[in-house]
């Protein structure tokens, strides 16, 4: 998260005043961050040694997915506390209430798929999230409690903003030689995420945003992008050190 702190100055920005334009402008910034994640992820998937470190990726993925609903729950609770006098918090709470339902149990599905691939259930469940996931998710808890729960929109937009095509998952399966069962949850999630992304974009575009809240959400998006890139980079580095 090297560059997350460097977005701090933008939090004090007060540029946008028209809410509809502000939401669209925010989405534009998020799109730019999404494109950078895509670049990093493509580089990751293109590595010829992918089969060797794919299990490590799956473990990180499981950590991230299992942290997601509790994180959203925390944001939902904080947004609900604020919602009576804060329209942005009210929209945040309404969105999260529905999205938590949509995302619930995905960690269990993924866990079942990883076990089907030969990974040990107890090891996966017992394993603490690594520093990369902790930094990524921990930053969100900080902003939820100490800034505004709407910050989570930046995280969600980047995390869910680039769902893979089924064809890409099939390519990864062929390359890694993992059984199709390993990819059941990923296929379902990828299909669902297209719809979720449309809902998220629609919600963000209509958020009643002040300039400082728009800057907070973009800071969250940029920090998430940086965190994801760091996780992919760390996995690659570990693989290089082992080879």
């Amino acid at each position: 998260m090297d560059d997350a702190g460097s977005t701090e100055a933008s939090v004090t920005s007060t540029q946008a005043t028209d809410p509809s334009r502000s939401g669209a402008a925010l989405w534009m910034k998020i799109t730019l961050a999404q494109d950078l994640v895509n670049t990093a992820a493509q580089r990751f998937w293109s590595r010829p040694t992918l089969p060797r470190f794919f299990p490590s990726f799956l473990m990180e993925l499981y950590s991230l997915v299992s942290c997601s609903v509790p994180l959203m729950q925390s944001a939902f609770e904080r947004a609900s506390e604020l919602s009576a006098s804060d329209p942005l918090a009210a929209v945040t709470a309404a969105y999260l209430e529905q999205h938590i339902q949509e995302e619930s149990h995905h960690d269990e599905w993924l866990l079942n798929d990883l076990v089907a691939a030969g990974m040990n259930r107890a090891t996966l469940v017992r394993r603490a999230p690594g520093t990369g996931v902790a930094r990524l998710v921990g930053a969100q808890y900080c902003w939820i409690r100490h800034a505004h729960p709407a910050a989570l929109f930046g995280y969600l937009a980047v995390i869910e903003g680039n769902p893979p095509l089924p064809q890409h998952l099939e390519e990864i399966q062929l390359l890694t030689k993992y059984p199709p069962e390993t990819f059941r949850c990923l296929h379902l999630h990828a299909a669902d995420d297209v719809e979720h992304l449309n809902e998220l974009r629609s919600t963000i575009s209509r958020l009643p945003l002040s300039g400082d809240k728009a800057a907070l959400i973009s800071m969250s998006a940029f920090a998430t992008m940086d965190g994801l890139v760091s996780i992919l980079g760390e996995l690659t580095k570990q693989e290089q050190e082992c080879s």
Partner: protein, 64 residues
């Protein structure tokens, strides 16, 4: 408008934004990106290195 053009040029020069991928309406929103935010995006882009020559990076591919 000059400010927006300057921001657009900085983002394009850094390989962050390709005008061909965005509508004119979206491009107009570039003016709302603060200089600080552009600095952050450029730093992240530099950290990643140059974009690949192929077009695979425009295919959505982050798995969660």
């Amino acid at each position: 408008m000059a400010d927006a053009q300057e921001k657009l040029k900085r983002l394009e020069d850094a390989g962050i934004l390709d005008q061909r991928q965005f509508s004119a309406e979206e491009i107009a929103l570039v003016a709302t990106i603060t200089d600080d935010e552009i600095d952050v995006l450029i730093r992240l882009r530099q950290k990643l290195g140059p974009p690949s020559a192929d077009k695979n990076h425009i295919r959505p591919n982050f798995i969660v």
